[in-house]
Symmetry: C2
């Protein structure tokens, strides 16, 4: 939409890079020196004035240099930024960290920590709990006469457990039998299907069922109706990295941000959006639409299992972040995670 002369583009790029590196408003003289431009500060001033009219930069005050606006960052990211591939060193570092951990669930959880360590920002990962996953097995174990441990296993290896308090005591063999009947009845169906059938079965007249299956259905229902299945938890790591940025150290802003990390609601919505599209997505400042994320940018990328997008990971930092580096890290991490997960499932 905005079109600039090549020279103006070059200038804007240099300005933003300088500002990202130093965090100080950039003046015409510094810019000429730093970027090795072949025209004079006066010319730079003229061009910067144009850029200011276009809303790509602004001066905090008359005698300060220029600072990128959110629109400026957006233009920079869309048009000027050539994301170069990560150094092999970094890639292997990430790869090593991802391969060290074999259990898919743990793997995904550890990724937020990995992202925060590599970027020195805050890492976030939305963990999928697919509800179309296959049901594998249910177990009833008596812990005490009134407490039964129900263990639900899905075909992708998730294990969910819950302690329930049945109406009457069951013997170990009764529980065993109930589990067997239940497993036979529901083998191979998806978790969603099982949940629906359970609800239907509970509505139906209990006379239709064997007494023992009836009990099994009742107990199983308490696990299948739990929030854990289909719930999408969010892992956030490295919040304290953000304390290092002076532009965020405004206590009120920081407080809001940290509350958003705790509440997670806004972040979840944001990551949902990201899940709808492929590749790296970038939300700069107000673009995210959440007040708490003002003066922050979020870089996200979905990850896949066997070609299907199942979750999102990303990084949160100040708008003044090293976009090229962060983008490539997020991108590579998403790819490597997808690979590790698909690999894991396949063999």
């Amino acid at each position: 939409m905005v079109s600039l002369t090549p020279r103006a583009e070059r200038l804007l790029k240099a300005l933003i890079e300088q500002y990202i590196a130093e965090g100080q408003p950039v003046g015409s003289r510094t810019l000429v020196k730093q970027a090795g431009l072949e025209f004079s500060p006066a010319t730079v001033r003229n061009i910067m004035s144009d850029l200011e009219e276009l809303g790509l930069v602004r001066s905090p005050h008359t005698s300060a240099g220029r600072v990128p606006t959110e629109r400026g960052y957006r233009f920079f990211v869309d048009t000027l930024l050539a994301v170069q591939p990560l150094k092999a060193l970094d890639t292997t570092h990430i790869e090593d960290r991802l391969l060290a951990d074999q259990d898919p669930q743990q793997l995904i959880e550890s990724v937020s920590g990995l992202l925060s360590q590599v970027t020195k920002l805050t890492g976030i990962v939305r963990v999928p709990r697919r509800t179309d996953v296959g049901f594998l097995q249910l177990d009833f174990l008596a812990l005490s006469p009134t407490r039964v441990l129900v263990i639900l296993v899905t075909q992708d290896g998730q294990v969910l457990n819950r302690v329930i308090h049945p109406k009457r005591p069951y013997s170990a063999s009764e529980l065993q039998q109930a589990a067997n009947i239940f497993n036979d009845a529901y083998a191979g169906r998806s978790v969603d299907e099982v949940r629906r059938s359970l609800i239907a079965a509970l509505r139906r007249d209990s006379e239709d069922m064997q007494q023992i299956l009836r009990s099994a259905v009742e107990m199983a229902h308490q696990v299948f109706s739990g929030e854990e299945i289909g719930d999408s938890p969010l892992f956030v790591s490295g919040e304290s990295n953000l304390l290092a940025f002076p532009e965020l150290s405004n206590t009120e802003k920081l407080r809001r941000l940290f509350e958003a990390f705790t509440a997670k609601q806004d972040l979840l919505h944001l990551l949902d959006q990201s899940m709808a599209s492929q590749g790296v997505q970038i939300f700069i400042g107000a673009e995210s639409g959440y007040e708490a994320l003002a003066s922050c940018s979020v870089v996200t990328a979905p990850y896949e299992v066997d070609g299907q997008i199942v979750g999102t990971l990303g990084v949160i930092g100040p708008t003044r972040m090293s976009y090229d580096r962060v983008i490539s890290i997020v991108d590579v991490t998403a790819r490597l995670l997808s690979g590790a997960l698909s690999h894991g499932v396949a063999g």
Copy 2:
């Protein structure tokens, strides 16, 4: 050790209470007015001078009022503080929150959130994973030809699971048989015992064993040797509450503190100490022995299951915290949690 005249005690108490409430150095005049003392500011000054010599208060500078020292807080907590019982309202609030959640593991986890919400400080809970707990059942489930899900259940209802990659593929019935043999062999022993026997069994010549048991032992070993059992995770909630305190907003201090929350190592050690003794324990400032906790106090209390201490919970806040309130909240929460857990196990 230190003994004060009743008047000096009264003065110190009033001073500390005032300082806790306002956060500003307390002058002689304010103290007289605020605490309704029947002697003059000059007298108060004399007494404060004595208190300063004893190291219980200090002035930030010549013409400021007095501020409690850590020693002063310690004396206050040990001698002057009469912890009044919590209002019934608060108690029932905590009680409700604790009863809402039935699963012991979740219950314990939610307590840190509860503590942080009620105190507006940071809540911490050390979750026990006792290794002397009884082994209940092991399951082997084939996820794919090369991936076996191992599920370990203890008698207190903990469920641990791990995906392993056995050397050769096993059929479902082989796995079932292996689990049966294993469960028969180790039924009723403690997790620790099982772990030890597994190691011993692996050392012994494999000729002694049935081939199938040998496989079971090898696979089980990978789960029992995992760090999860006997590992003691730590839950921390409400870190961002601490952002509200000006005395901590020094960025460097805050950073250290948040890093301690992430690393958890120091906190774990501290809570271990607390677990060794009964009742509420208070660590004021440097008493904790951890640099990161400077100008913070930690109030902890162990909680029990059936009369035996299994874990610790507590609150971290600035040294200038409302000790009486925090102490009673921590105390009540520990008692109620103990009750809820013991109740749960018993019936």
